[in-house]
């Protein structure tokens, strides 16, 4: 039988199936962080059961951490307590922790791939919806709730019904100004935020085949924003080259054997998907969102659509925007380049490339937040820190930062922020904050101009 990439990886991880119920799916790697794990550790305590496979877990602190003065104790008492609790739990149960101060610390979905923990053909989970990021490697990776985190602690498995499959193909010639973020924002704007619900999505076609691993991670990261459990891209030479040589990747003969196996994973010619969508890459241009869900996106320069739907009107009211108007040249006051969507070295190279020789607008506060200590180190090694600092950007220390208003980095009420993060929900970046999702280049350009600009026209 012809199988999809998703089928191959899923089927090889099914321990057994519950009659008329879900599959028991074996999990190769479990990533944890400070926010969604404490109550799961408590379940182990309450039930007096051991942690089944501590060696398959990697922990880091990312959501709550400040992005300044990380050598000092965390000032916010509740955040400090949660981060301390993670350290205690990891100590007690023998889990590897890359906490604050460790050279491998960073956003969980940035460190997994860069350390070679993430590998093709694996199953991975984390108590975080953006676990879909790791699908860029041809991995089945999805977000779970805390009850399921406890289940994986106890059994290294989750009970989950096999999702349906969807393929999104984007082929053709991309305009040179288009970034991976623009492609996924375009796809979500066309299909909607609930289009992928109940599905795993495979992204196929030349647009993804020619993309770097960093770009593929940006795309798969946002598959949850179309409602999908996860996204996947077939592993190929780009994937193997990225994985090879990383700290926890297989080496030498073991690597050769793995690569031979990974090459068997791509979807068989003629395998069937439950649904398929095709897009012409040439139609895509730099994108920006205008509303309060990631599906409310347009090409920069297009006008905001009109609708009499109450939820749509509520959304535009929150954003302070008018249907039928245009975002081009609209002043903005904040820029955030970071988050698990766009905080890898390639994102900062792209932003720095745009910023070189330019100055940030005096009216804009612009944050650059690397996804990990390794990315931060690389920024310095390549001299990008000097580019950003001389242009007036603030370069911070790694963490989730202004993506979710859980740490000190927040956008003020009413302010417009061009953000490379993944969600423009009401209050996501701070109470009353107004988020405009875009690529790192569009964000950098907005910081320089002090307003929204169309980089495809420059």
């Amino acid at each position: 039988m012809k199988k999809t990439l998703f089928d191959k990886v899923w089927d090889s991880h099914v321990v057994s199936s519950v009659e008329n119920g879900p599959d028991i799916l074996y999990i190769d790697k479990h990533l944890i962080h400070e926010v969604t794990s404490p109550q799961a550790f408590s379940v182990l305590e309450e039930k007096e059961i051991p942690l089944f496979r501590p060696n398959q877990i990697v922990a880091t602190a990312d959501h709550n951490v400040p992005t300044e003065n990380q050598h000092l104790p965390i000032q916010d008492a509740l955040s400090r307590k949660q981060v301390t609790q993670l350290s205690k739990n990891c100590d007690k149960y023998g889990v590897t922790l890359y906490g604050l101060g460790h050279p491998y610390q960073g956003i969980v979905h940035v460190i997994g791939p860069e350390l070679g923990v993430t590998q093709p053909g694996m199953t991975m989970v984390c108590g975080d919806s953006h676990t879909s990021t790791h699908g860029a490697f041809g991995t089945i990776a999805f977000g779970i709730g805390t009850s399921q985190v406890a289940q994986v602690f106890a059994s290294q498995c989750v009970l989950v019904a096999k999702p349906k499959s969807m393929r999104v193909t984007v082929s053709g010639n991309l305009h040179p100004s288009v970034q991976p973020k623009d492609i996924i924002l375009y796809v979500i704007s066309k299909l909607g935020t609930d289009s992928g619900t109940g599905h795993f999505v495979e992204f196929a076609g030349t647009a993804f085949e020619q993309m770097s691993m960093e770009g593929r991670m940006t795309v798969c990261n946002m598959s949850i924003e179309m409602g999908a459990r996860g996204g996947m891209i077939a592993p190929d030479q780009t994937t193997f080259d990225y994985v090879s040589g990383r700290e926890f990747a297989p080496k030498d003969e073991a690597l050769k054997q793995k690569i031979a196996y990974w090459k068997t994973l791509p979807t068989d010619e003629g395998a069937a998907f439950d649904s398929e969508h095709h897009f012409d890459a040439a139609d895509i241009r730099p994108m920006i969102t205008y509303g309060t869900n990631p599906g409310m996106g347009i090409k920069i320069g297009e006008t905001i659509p009109t609708s009499d739907d109450a939820s749509f009107i509520k959304s535009l009211n929150y954003m302070g925007l008018k249907a039928g108007s245009n975002l081009l040249h609209m002043p903005i006051s904040h820029v955030f380049i970071g988050s698990c969507t766009n905080s890898r070295i390639e994102d900062f190279r792209a932003a720095a490339n745009y910023v070189t020789g330019k100055q940030k607008s005096p009216d804009v506060s612009a944050l650059i937040v690397p996804g990990s200590q390794q990315v931060a180190k690389q920024i310095v090694a390549e001299g990008l820190d000097k580019v950003f600092e001389s242009a007036g950007f603030m370069l911070r220390q790694p963490g989730c930062s202004a993506c979710l208003a859980m740490n000190d980095d927040k956008i003020p009420a009413g302010a417009y922020c061009v953000s490379t993060s993944n969600r423009n929900f009401e209050g996501r970046q701070g109470q009353g904050a107004r988020t405009l999702l875009a690529s790192p280049v569009t964000a950098a350009a907005a910081a320089v101009a002090g307003k929204i600009v169309d980089v495809s026209q420059q």
């Binding site: 090889s12 321990v15 057994s16 519950v18 009659e19 008329n20 119920g21 879900p22 028991i24 074996y26 926010v35 969604t36 404490p38 109550q39 408590s42 379940v43 089944f52 959501h63 709550n64 916010d76 509740l78 955040s79 307590k81 108590g127 975080d128 919806s129 676990t131 977000g143 779970i144 709730g145 805390t146 009850s147 399921q148 289940q151 106890a154 059994s155 290294q156 498995c157 009970l159 989950v160 019904a161 935020t193 609930d194 619900t197 109940g198 409602g227 459990r229 869900n293 109450a310 939820s311 979710l404 208003a405 859980m406 009420a413 969600r423 929900f425 009401e426 209050g427 996501r428 109470q431």
Partner: protein, 195 residues
């Protein structure tokens, strides 16, 4: 987990679509290390101003509406995987959420916390909203065994789907973790076979 069999209750209508889990419980309230007390901050920024004053026009402040059933617009629970959203709804007193569509992770989290997500058609959802509008204290009856959602006063009878395994768990108050622990031998054998 608490058992769920039959529930009779009035309903709270929340007609907004695409309610994401950041609205259900904003991230700044996720700093707890236990599961208690999240109901206080349920829909925090829709319920209260930035100075913690009640926003009087929000549905939870409307004393006409009460009960353990939340009826919500399409695509409820999208966004973040935070189970705190389910904890907040349960802590506030909701045991059932009715919508025409649920996001996957939220649906799983709800079921793992004794909250029954009932998916109805868009037309049925509209009928339920209309029934509540005509009589804010109208009673609904949810019977999990027969998989029925009824509003007798309006003649609404809706059969809903639920996975047979999850139904058994809800009816008996079983947790997935207990089932998985009972499968340890099979899991260990699976590990040995693949290495």
């Amino acid at each position: 987990m608490e058992k769920f069999q039959i529930l009779e209750s009035a309903m709270v209508p929340l007609t907004i679509e695409n309610v994401d889990t950041d609205q259900i419980i904003p991230a700044r309230f996720l700093k707890a290390t236990d599961r208690k007390g999240f109901g206080e901050n349920l829909f925090r920024d829709w319920r209260f101003t930035n100075d913690n004053q009640p926003k009087k026009d929000f549905i939870l402040h409307d004393t006409q509406y009460s009960g353990a059933i939340l009826v919500a617009g399409n695509n409820f629970g999208c966004g973040s995987s935070r189970e705190h959203a389910a904890w907040a709804l349960a802590d506030y007193g909701f045991r059932v959420v009715v919508s025409s569509f649920f996001a996957d992770i939220f649906k799983g989290n709800a079921l793992n916390n004794g909250i029954l997500p009932i998916q109805v058609s868009p037309q049925e959802l509209q009928e339920v909203f209309t029934a509540i509008e005509s009589n804010p204290s109208i009673q609904a009856k949810v019977d999990l065994e027969t998989q029925q959602f009824r509003i007798d006063e309006s003649g609404i009878i809706i059969s809903f789907e639920i996975n047979a395994y999850k139904k058994m768990c809800m009816l008996n108050g079983y947790d997935d973790i207990d089932y998985l622990l009972s499968q340890k031998e099979a899991i260990t054998a699976f590990e040995q076979n693949r290495s």
